[in-house]
Symmetry: C2
């Protein structure tokens, strides 16, 4: 109805909003990055206030009624189905985000932030004492607030849908449940078969002295070769590795080095590089706005897991890089064969701690959390019953259970920050990565051959063309269909695991 | 007229504005700090946009008509005279800043920013070619815009007053001219007498190989001993040393090391530490707001110059620290006496470049710039005539003149950024530092004795109690009167120089 000229002007006003929000987000990201890397200890209090202000300014922009009107005027719609062009994508994404922000009262946002702040302290204390009771009241309060939050946003089948949507847009609880139902029994079965195989993999070699300087030198070499551009990013050290975008051409990763355990530093670095390569590969046409983000956390994780596991833990990758690693650690690895090293970094062993889990059991840790947090949010499980439910589910899925709360229900920080609906994205990442890897090999041939040649450029180019350049212009499922021709499925990942671990553990 | 309760509420609303502005300024300061230290090269474009947004948000807050009304309602007044309490100080300071921000049209601010951006590129090119003509049109445009800016703010005696006030609040051009008129002939005379003394000081020792690691180790040791708290700050490296406050408890300095010239790193570090100690010493009662800033750039510079020159270039300081320096550089300094080292770091030599100037001639470089920029802004000098005027003034004040524009009128970046009225604060800093040093010695005894003992804590304590804790609650002149009992004067600094350089150069 509006004339061409005024439509353009509405769109450009929307883009101005979008631009300001992105600049505020990137500024806040620097405040966070510095907090984790270089900030002096006493800076904590002031920094928290600075971050809170920038986040509230971004939230004001996003929830602004003026933006709401502009979006309506521009014809934004929340449709599902591959958008016709980037403007349509941007409008859809902004409408989705605007509604989420506008529907939740500021009072509730503030109460969630306050409660989460206190809950994290309670969680830390509780974990130190391995005593869930000290965290219980905080967790109850957070769940109650998160249900209120879900109600404010609105939901049909489950309140968990409204929470999941924040991390995995356009993806329903039922869909996740569907793929996990396919995944879980086969992971549990594979874990059992590996345990019963009687074929022990020796990873003692990884627990030796590995000087940090040499670890870092090797990590930087790998980053350079896989295509991480150091004039567009950095590698630093922090307690918990992360990747963060501070601009279209400034994406930074951190890692940590364990001087007595080699894999932490290497695979932490490669994992974060996977995230960073995604952020550095957004197309020129979407660089400046909200579409320059990952399609979802699941898709983001598909990139980090692809590089960490399908690339970084493959025999072909080590055939290429092992000589360099041996040069960095001649005394430790000089006499150790690449095949034995490959087996060592792929040891499978059911364990209690998610962040230490291997490729096979990792998904089971995630499904455990998904089942429990879904039940908590849907009201089918009380917080008081949570530790027992954790033990029972752990026993059922992994065949082991924690001996105390610290190695069970208190091990992850997520719930104490008020994040529910986040965990499943970790496992979705593995599933997406395997689907994408199938498509990649269909298009450009065997991954193993490319890796053995060190031909990372061809791999990265395929990822950029098919996934990275799209940013957030497609939903995760739309992207999956466009890249693979099919919806998300578990069997690609399961086949990958079977193919890989059958020889390692001499399974029948 | 308003009731006590509602007055309190007005004040607390003013404080909320103030708090937001401070948080935005600190956030922008981190963006700057990172840009100069760790940012990857390609991040430049995005970073500039982020800084511009945060600065414009802070400007919106400051110029907001709502803030203007609140200030009026709270009874803010622009009076001169020591304020009765901190609220009065805060209101006065905010009113002054609000008026400056509200009176200048946004269009003019934006045009200044755009013109300065282009002018800096033009200046860099011009300096490379040592050809003023390439910078001339940009400088003409900037001066015209700055006059417009001064007119928008308003002025009585000189448009230069309106510009100077931004850096040196409540200080008039006439006052600066008065102290400089006292200073200049005696500096020119002292410079001449030193030149004619025939007593050469040998500083070859400073131009040897000084490995950067040892320089940094020594610098950190000095910082620690003078009272720089590393849990409230950092030391990093950047092209141009600076100090920046990112929060009440996060003040960072940078320095640079020249591996073939020892003084750059040491005195750069100590100079910036002086700025940082000021920022770290603001009183608890003013920490969270706009009063937690230096009283003026001149007062700020008084702190850096005090530590760099009156402390760092004194014989007593080196009697304490020289053994440590010799341990860091045994081969270079092992056989060199502390007395000879002291003379070497205090060589006086008229030179063309301000940033390389010694304590005696430095003020003359500043007066040169002050005279010329004042004449440019007041319309008594055309930009076309500037290079000739520079040469003539240099000859008159320093007894030498540049052989080309690069070592003359093009040497400083300031004018290309649109900063006029900034230069005098450098020399005011020296004058204030000497006035304060007199008061300090009157109160706690000989500086030399304290320094020889390494008793930095007593010195810092005096500075904190008398200067740092006051922050911006007093104007520079009010502070000077409160601390020294007198207005700013040049003779304290001149006596200090005479006393110090008479023995070094065996003057009669």
């Amino acid at each position: 109805m509006a004339s061409g000229g005024s439509e353009k002007s509405v769109l450009s006003r929307v883009r101005e909003y979008d631009q300001r929000m992105v600049l505020l987000r990137h500024s806040a990201a620097l405040l966070h990055w510095d907090q984790e890397t270089y900030m002096p200890a006493a800076g904590e209090e002031g920094r928290s206030e600075q971050i809170a202000l920038l986040e509230s300014l971004a939230h004001e922009e996003l929830s602004s009624p003026v933006l709401g009107e502009l979006l309506q005027e521009a014809g934004a719609s929340n449709h599902v189905g591959i958008p016709g062009d980037l403007n349509e994508s941007l409008l859809r994404e902004l409408l989705r985000a605007h509604k989420r922000a506008a529907l939740v009262p500021t009072r509730l946002i503030e109460e969630l932030a306050r409660t989460a702040g206190a809950a994290q302290s309670a969680w830390r204390r509780a974990r130190e004492q391995a005593h869930f009771g000290a965290f219980l009241p905080s967790l109850e309060r957070l769940i109650s607030l998160r249900r209120e939050y879900a109600d404010a946003i609105g939901w049909e089948a489950s309140p968990y849908d409204a929470l999941l949507d924040e991390y995995e847009p356009f993806t329903s609880t039922a869909e996740v449940q569907g793929v996990f139902a396919e995944l879980q029994p086969r992971l549990t079965d594979l874990t059992r078969r590996i345990g019963e195989s009687g074929s022990a993999v020796d990873d003692d070699i990884l627990h030796r002295d590995y000087p940090v300087e040499a670890q870092e030198r090797f990590g930087r070499q790998v980053l350079k070769e896989v295509g991480f551009e150091f004039d567009r990013g950095r590698l630093d050290i922090s307690t918990h590795p992360f990747s963060t975008a501070l601009g279209a051409d400034d994406v930074r990763i951190t890692t940590r080095y364990n001087p007595r355990f080699l894999p932490s530093g290497i695979f932490g670095t490669v994992h974060e590089a996977g995230h960073a390569l995604y952020e550095l590969g957004f197309g020129a046409s979407i660089r400046a706005g909200s579409l320059a983000e990952g399609a979802s956390l699941g898709i983001h994780e598909s990139q980090s897991r692809f590089w960490e596991n399908m690339v970084g833990r493959s025999l072909a990758f080590w055939k290429y890089f092992y000589p360099e690693l041996q040069r960095c650690f001649p005394a430790q690895l000089g006499d150790f064969s690449v095949e034995k090293f490959y087996r060592a970094v792929n040891v499978v062993r059911p364990s209690l701690i998610r962040v230490e889990a291997d490729e096979v059991t990792y998904g089971l840790h995630v499904i455990l959390r998904f089942e429990l947090e879904k039940a908590l949010i849907e009201g089918d499980l009380t917080v008081a019953d949570l530790p027992d439910a954790w033990s029972a589910t752990s026993q059922r899925l992994l065949g082991i259970k924690p001996s105390n709360d610290a190695e069970g229900v208190l091990q992850d920080i997520h719930w104490s920050t008020g994040a529910f609906g986040y965990f499943p994205t970790y496992a979705l990442g593995n599933l997406y990565s395997a689907c994408f890897a199938e498509a990649l090999q269909r298009d450009i041939g065997s991954l193993d051959i490319l890796l053995e040649q060190g031909n990372f450029a061809v791999i990265l180019d395929w990822l950029q063309r098919n996934i990275h350049t799209k940013g957030r212009s497609l939903s995760p499922q739309e992207l999956c269909v466009q890249v693979t021709g099919q919806h998300l499925r578990a069997d690609a990942f399961l086949s990958y695991l079977e193919t890989k671990y059958t020889p390692i553990y001499e399974l029948s």
